[in-house]
């Protein structure tokens, strides 16, 4: 039982760290702000969540202490990360950061122009 717990916690923390590292790699690799914020919102959130869940399970199994603060942290990260991604993208778009040149479609620019000409 204890060994299963150890393996599970180890896997959780390890995969969380791996996902965080990969999303940091994505920040370097991807070409424009919007694609980077894809990497930053999703993968980084999942990495942090995995690490926090691992820590929570460690405290619960081995120290027999149910840490409500870690649970709250999980909930808060879960709620705020997509909003932060959205606001970053919106602010970048509104201040005219160009998209990658191989982007295909841009409905928002069309609609904004239509509104201005009205």
């Amino acid at each position: 039982m204890i060994q299963i717990g150890e393996i599970l916690i180890g896997l959780l923390v390890l995969s969380g760290a791996l996902i965080s590292a990969l999303s940091a790699f994505g920040l370097i690799r991807l070409p424009d702000v919007y694609l980077r914020s894809h990497a930053a919102t999703k993968s980084a959130t999942l990495g942090v969540l995995f690490i926090l869940v691992g820590a929570f399970l460690y405290f619960a199994f081995f120290l027999e202490h149910v840490s409500a603060k870690l649970l709250l942290g999980i909930v808060f990260v879960f709620i705020t990360a997509p909003v932060a991604g959205h606001l970053n993208g919106r602010a970048a778009y509104r201040s005219g950061v160009p998209m990658w040149e191989r982007s295909v479609q841009d409905d928002l620019a069309k609609d904004l122009k239509k509104k201005e000409s009205k």
């Binding site: 999303s23 990497a39 999942l46 997509p82 909003v83 959205h86 778009y93 295909v104 479609q105």
Partner: protein, 159 residues
């Protein structure tokens, strides 16, 4: 819905007073009894039974977690692929949802789905502008996904 929860709490407190025992187990038993009573009498209420809505909330949370895990693995796959094969783009999506609360939840869900990110919400609150990582297949696929999301949200807010 709030009224039903209040009534349920009242039933639990009455149960505790009947036993003159103010402990958490007694409260739990009273609350469960209240759920059964309200469920049996649910046809006298103008609204639906509130546990059904709670169940819809739970389903929405499960959906949220599932989408988060799927989407981050898709994004990681794109990152570690040797040649970058993404075709990003922004597309507009009409939504049927009305209130601010529903639209906020929908855009949070979209931010966490495979390869989509909400960029802007139009002023009338009916159009969402979404930046997609791979627009070719996403344009069809996301409509389908958003069908399930919108339905799940609607089940919570209007039932």
């Amino acid at each position: 819905m709030a009224l039903q929860i209040l009534l349920n709490l009242a039933i639990a407190f009455v149960w505790m007073f009947l036993y003159n025992d103010f402990s958490a187990p007694r409260f739990t038993v009273g609350y469960l009894l209240g759920i059964i009573c309200i469920g049996l009498l649910s046809r006298f209420w103008p609204h639906d039974f509130y546990m059904r809505r709670l169940w819809a909330v739970v389903k929405l949370l499960v959906l949220f977690t599932k989408e988060l895990i799927i989407s981050s693995f898709l994004v990681i796959m794109q990152i570690i692929r040797p040649r970058l094969a993404v075709r990003p783009g922004i597309f507009a999506l009409e939504t049927e949802l009305k209130s601010d609360w529903e639209i906020t939840v929908l855009s949070c869900l979209i931010c966490l789905t495979p390869g989509t990110l909400t960029l802007d919400v139009a002023r009338d609150g009916q159009t969402l502008y979404i930046h997609a990582m791979d627009i070719e297949d996403v344009n069809e696929l996301s409509k389908q996904i958003k069908g399930t999301f919108e339905r799940a949200i609607m089940e919570v807010t209007r039932s």
